[in-house]
């Protein structure tokens, strides 16, 4: 089985089309966009990990992220809707899932420009993963606006909560790091679920 492992890892990196699910809310495209990333754990957990990481950074980095991350997500969502050949996105997303959780667990304070770069790259990738072919015209704009607003709300509230807890409670930073480790563990489990079918075949 051990000999198979590298092959499986390589297989996992083979490009595949991954279609975003359109959340049918009947509330219209704006709410569909808002709920799309929030209702899928593989989108929500990495977002939370980035927000927790932002909360552990100096407040200037977290503050800058409030604007940059939603803009990056909006750009990615537009690209994802227009060019939906998302071959490597799910694999990269999986990597982000794990690595962001790891960074939170380690409570690493990144240089401001490095953190901004991480947030921007991750935001574009995540936005791309939230793209869908099922929206047109005004619906397209509403959908992109919905995803962007969700990014803003999740990032703002979670990073503020992480910042406040880690700054005001003695156990705060431990709690945030524990959450990061759970997200990292979820990332490992999620990878396992993707690799398992290949192992069985």
């Amino acid at each position: 089985m051990q000999r198979k492992l590298p092959l499986i890892l390589v297989l996992a990196l083979i490009p595949q089309c991954s279609w975003a699910h359109l959340v049918s809310t009947r509330f219209g495209e704006f709410y569909a966009g808002m709920l799309h990333p929030v209702l899928a754990l593989n989108h929500l957990l990495p977002w939370l990990a980035l927000a927790l990481l932002a909360g552990l950074q100096p407040v200037e980095s977290a503050r800058r992220n409030l604007l940059l991350f939603p803009l990056a997500v909006a750009t990615g969502t537009v690209l994802g809707c227009l060019f939906p050949e998302s071959s490597l996105i799910s694999q990269v997303n999986l990597l982000a899932f794990f690595s962001l959780g790891l960074l939170v667990t380690l409570a690493l304070r990144l240089h401001q420009s490095l953190f901004t770069a991480v947030a921007l790259v991750f935001g574009v990738i995540e936005g791309y993963g939230n793209g869908t072919l099922d929206v047109f015209g005004t619906g397209f704009l509403l959908y992109v606006a919905g995803v962007t607003v969700a990014a803003y709300i999740v990032m703002t509230i979670t990073s503020a909560a992480a910042n406040w807890i880690s700054g005001h409670q003695q156990w705060g930073s431990i709690a945030v790091r524990a959450l990061g480790s759970w997200i990292m563990a979820a990332g490992i489990l999620y990878s396992g679920f993707l690799i398992l079918p290949a192992l069985q075949s």
């Binding site: 049918s24 009947r26 509330f27 219209g28 709410y31 407040v59 977290a62 503050r63 409030l66 709300i153 703002t156 509230i157 990073s159 503020a160 909560a161 910042n163 406040w164």
Partner: protein
């Protein structure tokens, strides 16, 4: 900021038809011609829909549109509409029985199945499952209601006053919602929608005065403003509920659960807004000084635009 005003006024002259937010409903009328045999008739209107949802009647019934035959057993058992939720907010099934009685049932995407009983009374959980999501949906799709609530939040200066103001708004709109749906009073829908739009513009002006430090009554007693305009917004909620229809045997519970849905939606909106304000304080994120009056002007401009558009619809008799 004054240069901004002519631009806003110009933008308001841009004529587009403005409708109150749409809640697409499909109505299935079943009229009993002889015992157990019904004539079915669909009435549905929505800008994006060409077909009504497909009903699945109890197993002993045969349905060949427009004829439904349930034999001597009658129309009892489960009725399902699986396609609800994607395009239609709800489907109302109206049954006109041979004895002159009429029953109405509402199915939604969250509650696509109802159990038809000989008495026409629905279990409480089915009424809750149908009407709470409808109320929740109505407030979240009602940007006019949400903008007004946002304006109220801007007027208050303490948590206690916010609680008092939102409670006053809730009580007021519950009163008129109940009064209209129970048939105690009747108000035409179009003027109500226009007045709701005007209430947003008025609150925006009051917020602006309050922000400038000018004395305004609405900042001193925001709960009174909330109560007064809340009565108006209740008429708007009632318009939606009247369109959906209420099951005659379950009017009080349906009304209660619709209102619960509206309150839950309103509460969710208020909590998210408060959480965002708190988060900005924690992260010391201050928006530029011009952004606040610009937002208030924007809110007032939207309210004025909706008011003029809705007034226009009244004047042309649309």
């Amino acid at each position: 900021m004054r240069w901004f005003l002519p631009l806003l006024l110009f933008m308001q002259l841009w004529t587009q038809t403005a409708f109150a937010h749409n809640t697409p409903i499909a109505l299935l009328t079943l009229s009993e011609r002889q015992v157990g045999v019904f004539d079915a008739d669909w009435t549905y209107s929505s800008s994006t829909i060409v077909n009504p949802p497909a009903p699945t009647f109890p197993a002993h019934c045969t349905f060949d549109y427009p004829r439904l035959n349930c034999g001597e057993t009658g129309l009892v058992g489960t009725l399902t509409m699986e396609q609800l939720g994607e395009r239609y907010s709800a489907a109302v099934v109206q049954i006109h029985w041979q004895d002159g009685r009429t029953d109405a049932y509402t199915l939604t995407g969250a509650n696509p199945t109802i159990t038809l009983t000989p008495t026409g009374k629905l279990p409480l959980d089915q009424v809750a499952a149908a009407y709470i999501p409808l109320g929740f949906e109505h407030i979240l799709l009602g940007v006019d209601h949400l903008l007004f609530v946002l304006g109220l939040m801007w007027l208050v200066s303490s948590t206690a006053m916010l609680v008092k103001t939102i409670t006053a708004f809730t009580i007021a709109h519950s009163l008129t919602l109940a009064a209209v749906t129970l048939g105690w009073i009747g108000v035409p829908e179009q003027p109500v929608n226009a007045a709701i739009a005007l209430s947003i513009a008025i609150v925006a002006v009051e917020v602006l005065k309050h922000q400038r430090g000018e004395r305004c009554l609405s900042a001193d007693i925001p709960w009174a403003i909330a109560f007064g305009f809340g009565l108006l917004h209740g008429f708007g909620f009632a318009g939606a509920l009247t369109k959906i229809g209420l099951p005659q045997e379950n009017v009080p519970s349906a009304l209660l659960f619709f209102n619960v849905g509206v309150e839950l939606g309103q509460l969710a909106f208020v909590l998210v807004m408060l959480a965002l304000v708190w988060s900005h304080k924690v992260l010391q994120a201050q928006l530029p000084a011009w952004s606040r009056p610009a937002t208030i002007y924007g809110m007032g401009a939207i309210g004025s635009f909706w008011f003029l558009s809705r007034l226009h619809l009244i004047l042309i008799g649309a």
